[in-house]
């Protein structure tokens, strides 16, 4: 997971890229694999939620997301977690610049 988080005045902007094949049902069938894609992502700063999204197989491979939240969170840590269809989960952390 690659995270770039930057405080910009009165808000903070986060760009994140997840490493994930995002195999749709059809793509998986062609490859003889199980469908596997990220289904749910959350992000928190100071234990407060700043992102919550449920996702489908139609996000691109290695999905990219940009989102914003209120407040200048410079120096704080952002924690981003995803869950995929197979129940796998991954958490990434980054310091907000």
């Amino acid at each position: 997971m690659r995270i770039k988080a930057k405080a910009k005045g009165d808000y903070t902007e986060v760009k994140v890229m997840f490493k994930h094949p995002m195999l749709s049902y059809r793509e998986a069938k062609k490859k003889g694999k199980k469908a596997d894609f990220i289904t749910y992502v959350t992000a928190t700063v100071d234990n407060e939620k700043v992102l919550e999204v449920s996702t489908s197989q139609f996000l691109s491979k290695n999905p990219y997301m940009k989102f914003k939240f209120k407040g200048n969170a410079k120096g704080k840590e952002i924690v981003i977690t995803w869950v995929d269809l197979l129940g796998k989960t991954k958490t990434g952390k980054a310091k907000i610049k």
Binding site: Y11, M22, S24, Y25, R26, T39, Y40, T42, V45, E48, K49, V50, L51, E52, V53, S54, T55, S56, Q57, F58, L59, S60, K61, P63, Y64, M65, K66, F67, K68, F69, K70, G71, V83, L85
Partner: protein, 158 residues
């Protein structure tokens, strides 16, 4: 035994209701499995029937108004595997993203936490030319933005 069960349930329910809305996690994959199964008509990707059905499944209504939602998507996407899409809707409680090009209509549902700014960019897959649709729930009303993205398959135009 029955009584204890009942009491336990009551306490659990009370605790659940006591949580502020912002802390209640909503994973729509778990709470609304039907949403992700709503099919598009792949042979008629211009048809938004699947998208409208998915909107209704999620929001309980497909009655939408214009405005308040800003959607940015390319008019022509050379690579359907990576189509950049941005959208924002001030004051939105929920924003959902759909398309009419793939086997199913739903792409993503954003619940907007109190601290979040409803302004997002993602990259999506489109197997053919079709509509990209964003619906935002603002003050109990639904607002929709709709854009056609032309997908040139295999980079050979079309």
């Amino acid at each position: 035994m029955e009584r204890r069960k009942f009491l336990g349930l009551g306490a659990g329910a009370a605790a659940l209701f006591a949580l502020p809305a912002g802390l209640m996690a909503e994973n729509y994959r778990k709470t609304l499995p039907a949403l992700w199964k709503v099919k598009n008509d792949e042979k008629h990707a211009d048809d938004e029937k699947g998208v409208n059905e998915a909107i209704k499944t999620l929001f309980g209504s497909d009655k939408t108004e214009e405005g308040k939602v800003h959607l940015k998507a390319p008019a022509i996407a050379e690579n359907g595997a990576v189509v950049p899409v941005s959208f924002k809707a001030e004051g939105a409680k929920r924003i959902a993203l759909f398309q009419s090009a793939d086997p199913e209509a739903a792409v993503a549902v954003f619940d907007i936490p109190e601290k979040a700014i409803p302004d997002y960019s993602v990259r999506i897959k489109m197997q053919q030319t079709g509509h990209v649709v964003v619906v935002a729930e603002i003050d109990g009303k639904l607002y929709k933005a709709d854009k056609v993205v032309k997908v040139t398959v295999g980079g050979c135009g079309g």
